[in-house]
Structures are given as structure tokens and as C-alpha cells.
Symmetry: C2
Subunit: 340 residues, 2 copies
């Protein structure tokens, strides 16, 4: 910077002013300095800047399971939004969101002086641990629910589940079964709740719940159980004609199990998923599901976080994004209620 100042024949402070876009610099000086900067290929040292301003302009991201479609897309949205607004992001990927792992991640980020943290931790325990941890900076959660007082953004999982369930009911099914995700995931619970609410409101019977762990394998196992129920039409499983699976990956497993049991989708059993992963359109058959705009979710979280950091009091500390129902072949309308 001193070099630039010398060559341009001004003080280092003037160079600094040009770089920061300070208004009180004459057009002539600004042009001259800009040209020298260009010519010398000078770049302002961010460490020195951070030291002097006490602002690192760095944000941290803590995420679990970033190899999955949802978190990965969210991450991309977060990064992009932060970059646009002049911040550096650094992500820490956790295998499991234990209290210690979270604390360690936060410690790591804090060591680098991050000014804020976006936590993509959709598990109830993780959010609780996060709230318990005294953070050295503002924290915003993505899909963290709003039970605790952490600000955050989330998708209206409940609404999504209702949309799916109502769609299936409207397609002529007497009721809808549900394969839920792990009970400690907030998303999982919200989807289950939405499903149950929609059934009750429609006056439909609420069948027993099946659970998986989001993996295709667990969906497959749940699917085998479901297939068994269909085949034994007496008792509680009677009338199993539609299933809402809590995510697309498990739905893939369910579809396989049903197929192996000789059941057709959607003729014998309609199946719907949740997430709209890119593969969903090519499942056997193409899957009805709920599209989540993860990237927007990520962007929104950055907006919220920067509102906090940069002092704009965010009136709404909680943003909820609406989902979109994508209807495909796996829930094609049944012209005649079966079994009559």
C-alpha cells in the first residue's frame, strides 16, 4: 500500500480511502490511484485490515452430512450469498452432531475470528446443544425449528406434509400411511405432524407409523413391512393404498420393496416422497414429492445472519419458506376406489 502511495504520489491514507470507496476523494486522485493499483496488481492485505478494523468479514458454517443433496445445496446457497456480500465462508463438516463435535467446530471457527455462524443441524439434540453452547458470535440455524431462541430459517415442513397427504386423499385414497425419519430430527417430526394433522382434519384413520433413518435401506425395510400389510388385508393394515415417505431416498427403497412383493405403483399402492432430489423424476415410477428450495434457504440464512451482525435489527428472527408440491406418476389418480 505504501508502494502504491509512493508511485501515485499520495499518502497511504488516500489509497486506503480509494479502496474503501470513501466519498471525499477527488475524481482525479481516485483515477490516478486506481490506475497505479491496477498497474502494480496490488491487493489489500485482509489480515492487516481485519486487525485494524476488528472485523474479519468471515462467516462459519457448521453442517452435518454435507454429502446429501439437501445440505449440499444449502451450503452452496450460503456460500454464494456470503460471497456476494463480501464475506468469506468457511465450512466445517461434521459426521455426527454431538455436543462435543459442535463445540469443537465452533471453537475452530472462533479461533479464526468468524463474525457469525450458520448451523445446518436439523437434529433436535444438535440445536439444543447449540443453544446451550455459549457462542462467541451470532448463530443462525437452518432447519433448526423455532422452539429455542436461536434465530433461523426453515422450510414449512408441516405444510409440505399436508400438501402431500391432502393430495393423496384427494386422489381417492381412504387414508395415507407414513414412513417417517428418525424421531430426533426436527424435519422428521414436522412432517409426521403435518401428515397426522391432514388426516385428522379429513376425518381419515391415522395408521400406525413406520420409521426409517433416511437411508434407502431403511426405506426398503419399511417397504417390506408395508407390502406385508397389503397382502394381509385383515386387521390394521387393511386399506393400505397410499404411502407418504418422509424423503425421496427412503421412497426409493419402499418402491423396490413393493415391486419385489409384486405390487404395482401407483395402481396397487401410491407412493410419495419429500425433497425432490434430481433422481426422483426417474424413479420407477417417477416420484410425487415436495420440492425444497435449499439454495434460497441458504441465502436467506445469510441475510438473517448479516442483519444481526451489521446491526439491522431483524424484526423477523425466523423465516419460513413455503414448499412446492410436484405431482408425478407415483401417485396417479385412481379412477375407482379399489376393493369395491
Amino acid at each position: 500500500m505504501t508502494d502504491v502511495a509512493r508511485v501515485a504520489g499520495v499518502s497511504h491514507q488516500t489509497v486506503s480511502r480509494v479502496l474503501s470507496g470513501h466519498p471525499n476523494v477527488s475524481a482525479k486522485t481516485r483515477a490516478a490511484v486506481t490506475q497505479v493499483i491496477e498497474q502494480l496488481g496490488y491487493r489489500r492485505n485482509s489480515a492487516a485490515r481485519a486487525l485494524a478494523t476488528r472485523r474479519t468479514h468471515t462467516l462459519g458454517v457448521i453442517a452435518v452430512n454435507t454429502t446429501l443433496h439437501g445440505p449440499a445445496s444449502t451450503l452452496a446457497g450460503v456460500q454464494e450469498a456470503a460471497r456476494e456480500r463480501g464475506y468469506l465462508t468457511s465450512a466445517v463438516t461434521l459426521r455426527t452432531a454431538t455436543q462435543t463435535a459442535l463445540a469443537e467446530a465452533m471453537h475452530h471457527l472462533a479461533g479464526w475470528g468468524v463474525e457469525g455462524i450458520v448451523a445446518v443441524t436439523p437434529q433436535r439434540d444438535a440445536v439444543r446443544a447449540l443453544a446451550a453452547l455459549e457462542a462467541p458470535c451470532p448463530v443462525v440455524t437452518v432447519e433448526g425449528g423455532h422452539t429455542l431462541d436461536l434465530p433461523g430459517v426453515s422450510l414449512d415442513q408441516n405444510l409440505g406434509a399436508r400438501l402431500i397427504t391432502e393430495h393423496l386423499l384427494a386422489s381417492g385414497h381412504a387414508t395415507v400411511w407414513h414412513v417417517a425419519g428418525p424421531p430426533d430430527w426436527l424435519e422428521s417430526e414436522a412432517r409426521t405432524q403435518g401428515w397426522e394433522d391432514a388426516l385428522r382434519e379429513a376425518g381419515a384413520e391415522v395408521p400406525p407409523l413406520l420409521r426409517g433413518d433416511w437411508s434407502p435401506l431403511s426405506g426398503y425395510q419399511a417397504g417390506q413391512q408395508l407390502a406385508g400389510r397389503v397382502r394381509a388385508p385383515r386387521g390394521r393394515g387393511a386399506g393400505l393404498t397410499a404411502v407418504f415417505v418422509a424423503n425421496d431416498q427412503m421412497a426409493l427403497g419402499v418402491l423396490r420393496a413393493l415391486r419385489e412383493a409384486g405390487l404395482r405403483t401407483p395402481e396397487d399402492v401410491a407412493v410419495a416422497g419429500f425433497d425432490d432430489i434430481p433422481e426422483a423424476e426417474f424413479f420407477p415410477p417417477p416420484l410425487t414429492t415436495i420440492r425444497q428450495d435449499f439454495a434460497s434457504l441458504g441465502r436467506a440464512s445469510i441475510g438473517l445472519l448479516l442483519d444481526h451482525i451489521e446491526g439491522r435489527t431483524a424484526e423477523s428472527t425466523h423465516l419460513v419458506v413455503a414448499p412446492e408440491l410436484i405431482v408425478r406418476a407415483s401417485t396417479a389418480r385412481r379412477s375407482l376406489p379399489s376393493g369395491e
Copy 2:
């Protein structure tokens, strides 16, 4: 730091020495200082440190398409390895790897004083652009091929394709068709090459090439063409009994197209993929594929990069990792060659 020094009754320099693990500090002093640090919850300011040492301990990652399984896993590996070695990573996600986008990303990272960059850019043009760009720091590529003089790590795509092809030939197929990825992707070309080599070595006919763009949709379209060939057994398509698809997502599309055309997998046409995405095991039918250890790839790239940065002359500037063949139902052995 001054506070810590005051409370511990030593100079700030001694505190610095304790923090840096300098050997010449008496055990007693070290213990005392450590305790005060603990007590005050002191954390060394990384900006000041970077300013004084002229080392930011920050690495940049440039990646395309991070929402896909491969890049996302690689990213996770990179991050983890860097964190273990005391570096901060910052990722920039690009939609498309154009020269300008790459330059901008590099500029962004350079502005933050990154000491090295890992580029996950598997496209030929991207690597070329990267090589042309004069980087402000060492750059290591992942899946960037070794045609240019950028150091990097990659998986032996060629070998993977050979394994698949040889497996299919060994299963009793006269030859193997191939649905390739986009021609400007290095991975795509290497897989095509491996397939072709294996066929030639086995003395099998090399059928015409089909191409997709990695998406399930493009696989579906390719699958429709393939199905047409099977149905019209005169001419060049005769004997189409096995297909090697260049990635699992396209394979999903191919499977759907074949199924819709009334062809059974593997009885009528065997299908194999590449990548081993988590869903592959639950495809209809479970997909034979090549498993890639993306996380190790990411870790290896960090190893290579730090070798460069920290001055250890890396003898091998190019690492190649071996893939693993995963055999599943989609290529079940055919007991009798069909059509005889």
C-alpha cells in the same frame, strides 16, 4: 494477550511462546500461563498472527457442481483434512467453470490471502483455463488429469472402466455398449478410453458411442435409443445385451427407459454404472458400479498441496487412486448366451 501476560506475571512474548509450543519455556511457567489462558478463555487473534507471520493458514477450494455426490464428498474430505492440519478452508462453488468465473473465484480467494487452492474441476477446459491463469499461490487439481503441469490427484477412471467392461465380458456378453458423459469432461474421456481398450484387448466389437450429460434425463434418452436397437436386432445394434453407463445417475435413466420398453435387467440387458452413489444399491435392480473414494481423494489433495506450501518437495506431483468394482444384480451372470 497482554492481559494474560499481566495476570500470569510474565511478558506477552512468553505467552506467545507457550501458545506456539516453543521448547524453551520452563514447565512451571508454561503451566501457569496455560492456566491463566484457560481461566480467561483467551484465544489468539488470527488476523494479528497472520499479519506478523505473513502466513494466513487458509486454503481455498474451487469446485463445480457441489450438489452432486462426488464433488460434495470430495469437498468434505478436503475440509476435514485441512482442519486436522490447522488450516482454514474456504470453498467457492461455481455453476459453470468458465475462464472468467474461475478467474473471479481465484481473485476472491487471493484477496483473502489463501496460501493454496484445491480445484475440483473435472472439465478439460476448466483445467486448461486454470493452467493459463497465473495463480497467486500453489494450485492442486482433483480429477484434473495430468496432461498439463498442474499437480493433482485423480482416480484411475481408465482402470475403473476396464474393470466394468471386463466384468461384463466375463459374464458372457459378446460386447458392451457405452453411454458416455460429456466429451469435455476428463473423467468421461478416461472412462470411454478404458471401455474401448478393454473391448479391443478382448477382441470384442466396439459398438457406436452414445452420450449424455450426466443427468438422469440424458440417460433416459440414451436408454430409449438403446431399447430401440435391441428391438431391431438387424444391423449394428445386434447383440446389445450389456451397457456400461458412465455414471449412476444416467444409469437410472437408462434403467427406466429399458423397463418402459419392456426389457428386463439383467435378463435382457445388463447395465452397469460408475460412482456408487448411495442410491445405487436400491435401483431397479441394484446397480453394478465402480466405487470411488472421494473423501480420500480430497484428503490426498490437501496432502499434496501442503507438501508444496510447507516446502516438502513432493516427488510425486500426481497421485492416482485405484477404484473398486461393486457387483450387484444389474449385471447378474447370464448362464446361457441369449438368442442361441
